[in-house]
Symmetry: C2
Subunit: 186 residues, 2 copies
């Protein structure tokens, strides 16, 4: 079987280290794993009045994201930390995917990575996701943790992840997440 991952980047800027982290991961996947990065920049701000029980009544970009997430075996999030928390835009995407009988996040394996130019590697962002995963009955994959600090030293100017130790930890993360997903399917 082919294990399909959907990637979500918590940063919408063009030269985002976190989007680059997802792209680096996409280039070193195990042979039976594929990764598609889903767009979250075209979602409206969450409004419960628009989050209709009937799928077709939801905004089109929301329907698309929910379908992408529903079809995935696992979700790989790479995000910066904004103000010691989850970026609002990323949480907005999670909120849009969280409700209804067809909620696509429920029981879904999920793994976190984070890159930052600062020293602490998005630790607080990753911590603040734990209650979100708990509420949504998601299946978080924990070890190894991918905390990329001082990103400016670890990517080249073209946005390529060049740091060897970081590449190794991501490869291990992907192998471990793959096995975690397979164990859950068994």
């Amino acid at each position: 079987m082919n294990i399909q991952l959907v990637g979500l980047s918590g940063s919408l800027r063009k030269g985002s280290y976190n989007t680059a982290l997802l792209q680096a991961a996409a280039a070193m996947l195990p042979p039976d794993v594929s990764l598609t990065i889903a767009a979250i920049d075209d979602l409206p701000l969450y409004n419960a009045d628009l989050d209709k029980p009937a799928v077709a009544d939801r905004p089109a970009t929301v329907v698309r994201l929910r379908e992408q997430l529903a079809a995935a075996h696992g979700i790989l999030i790479a995000s910066p930390e904004y103000n010691y928390g989850i970026p609002g835009g990323l949480k907005n995407a999670i909120d849009w995917a969280s409700r209804g009988e067809d909620a696509p996040l429920r029981h879904k394996p999920v793994a976190l990575m984070g890159a930052t130019i600062s020293l602490w590697g998005t630790v607080r962002m990753q911590l603040s996701f734990l209650p979100v995963f708990q509420y949504l009955s998601m299946k978080p994959h924990y070890q190894p943790e991918v905390l990329v600090n001082e990103a400016v030293k670890k990517f080249d100017k073209g946005g390529n992840l060049t740091d060897v130790a970081t590449r190794e930890i991501i490869a291990k993360k992907l192998q471990s997440f793959r096995q975690f997903i397979l164990d859950g399917l068994a």
Copy 2:
């Protein structure tokens, strides 16, 4: 002097209990306090590429929000809890107001309220704001806490806050927040 508060509602739906909570607060302010509810539903999703150092280069709705917050003596947030966390749309507004030398949230007094139809009164949402306040060097006002659970019993069908105990705690909160702001100005 007149103490100016800006209110932020974490829910964008029309019949929001949290917007109604802000409106209830606006109707029972101490005589020297005023409250304006700021719009956050017309902000784009945060994108660091658009968060320019030069004020005039930021999106117009962002400039407006930042100016409203900068002019306020304190910020009163009323928010639901989405997936055990801060609603993405509200965090998005905070993120837009967080950066730059003119960042309007720094050292700003802030108070939280929350209403929910469930039992636990937005406790987790309020907790997850603490590191955000910490990072931004804001001045959070803690006591009394306003946690409005089972909101459907506490508002009438027109969105008026009718529960006497809740009205009393909000009146106390506003008095205490007013004093907290005055003490900080002294």
